[in-house]
Symmetry: C2
Subunit: 218 residues, 2 copies
DNA sequence: ACAAATTACGAACGTTCGTACTATTATTAA
DNA sequence: TTAATAATAGTACGAACGTTCGTAATTTGT
């Protein structure tokens, strides 16, 4: 046992192995297809041995979702915070978001999958999905607000609207990739994102006079 | 038996009843949750009696999907064809698309649900989803091309890109409605759609000279 | 090295799954 | 009305589901 990993116990290690398999399986077949038996077979454990790590199937689903979100944050969100506030950070977030399901060995974004699977099924899993999605949503809004503060985005930019449309671009990209298996999915997504950013950009000052009254109520 | 419905047999009638229940259930819990037992209980039939209408569970899923698409076409797509070619038809299609899951008693769009559920699972159900989605995608592209022909949209408008972004708007709207339960989901969607249309609109002729070179490769 | 604690297993529980088969009831055509 | 046909119910099946429990194996702290 070396010093770097001296604290992780055996149970936590196998739990990580289980969650890795669970995440891979859920990203392909959905969280409803996360059966104890299949997962046990896939990890080479007994059903009961695997089950003991989680109190119930529901807990397993939530744990899998949490792990997926943790990886997303680790791969896409946190690194984007290294980029300077404003447009650059938004671009970094978007790029990371597009890339992260390709770099990880996941078939689809675990949070996106969960959000369409549980959006109409009340319960603790849905609650967890909503919480994660809300956090992400607020993170985007905050990033957009920073771009407004820095003067890169126009002061009347609706950051919630921006987040709404950004989610749409990502969702459409995933659909093109996974359903249509379109190699150009990322190109479409990049163009859509560019158009979104462009329409939020502040008008350069030497052209401002002509566009004083933007159509916007109050 | 009156003349209007003289041709429908008893079997077709109960099959319709089953598919109605199946559609409602699938739109909430997904196609994987379409179990024979639950569906039999919900329609007041025996498991075997219900099962006899479909050769397998897979056939039931496909039949349910087909029925969902049929209703979508009937409610949203075909009526939009009554609008004149060009922008008006696109607007009609979009409006109908947003409204149809509210007017029908469905929790979500059956095709959208199916497309995220089966996008990574090869098999006949996925094939059916892809086919339906492709048809819809081509329908949108054709409608956009008409708007280009009519001169409403700029000649260099990328209709495939337009379809890509339109799907994103719809997907994001459904997410806002079903996951966040945001009452303003349609407002966000309408704004996003307006921005999409605006950027595709042809530049009025008396202003053309200033914008001759649009940045676009080849 | 040993005792204590953690972790994994095997077997079995009752339920529900999808899917056969056979019988019985409704519907339809003559 | 009756014979033919279609539609539904009944029953049973092996498999897989999530879950519990007692016990064996292994890791851990001392």
């Amino acid at each position: 046992m070396n010093a770097a990993q001296s604290k992780i116990t055996k149970g936590e290690e196998t739990r990580a192995v289980i969650l890795n398999a669970a995440l891979r399986h859920a990203s392909v077949a959905g969280y409803g297809a996360l059966t104890i038996g299949v997962l046990a077979e896939q990890t080479g454990m007994s059903k009961s041995g695997l089950f003991a790590h989680f109190g119930s199937k529901e807990d397993l689903q939530i744990a899998t979702l949490d792990e997926g979100v943790r990886r997303f944050n680790q791969f896409a969100f946190v690194p984007a915070l290294a980029a300077p506030r404003g447009l650059k950070r938004i671009v970094a977030l978007f790029d990371n978001w597009l890339e992260w399901t390709r770099r990880s060995d996941l078939a689809a974004c675990p949070l996106m999958v969960a959000s369409t699977e549980f959006d109409d099924c009340d319960g603790p899993v849905r609650d967890a999905v909503v919480e994660h999605m809300n956090r992400l949503h607020l993170g985007i809004i905050k990033a957009v607000d920073m771009a407004i503060s820095s003067g890169e985005f126009a002061p009347d930019t609706d950051s919630e609207q921006f987040a709404f449309e950004l989610f749409g671009v990502i969702a459409s990209c995933y659909r093109s990739r996974n359903l249509f298996r379109d190699q150009n999915a990322n190109v479409f997504a990049q163009r859509a994102f560019a158009r979104l950013v462009k329409s939020a950009m502040a008008v350069p000052q030497h052209k401002t006079l002509a566009k004083s009254g933007v159509r916007r109520k109050s």
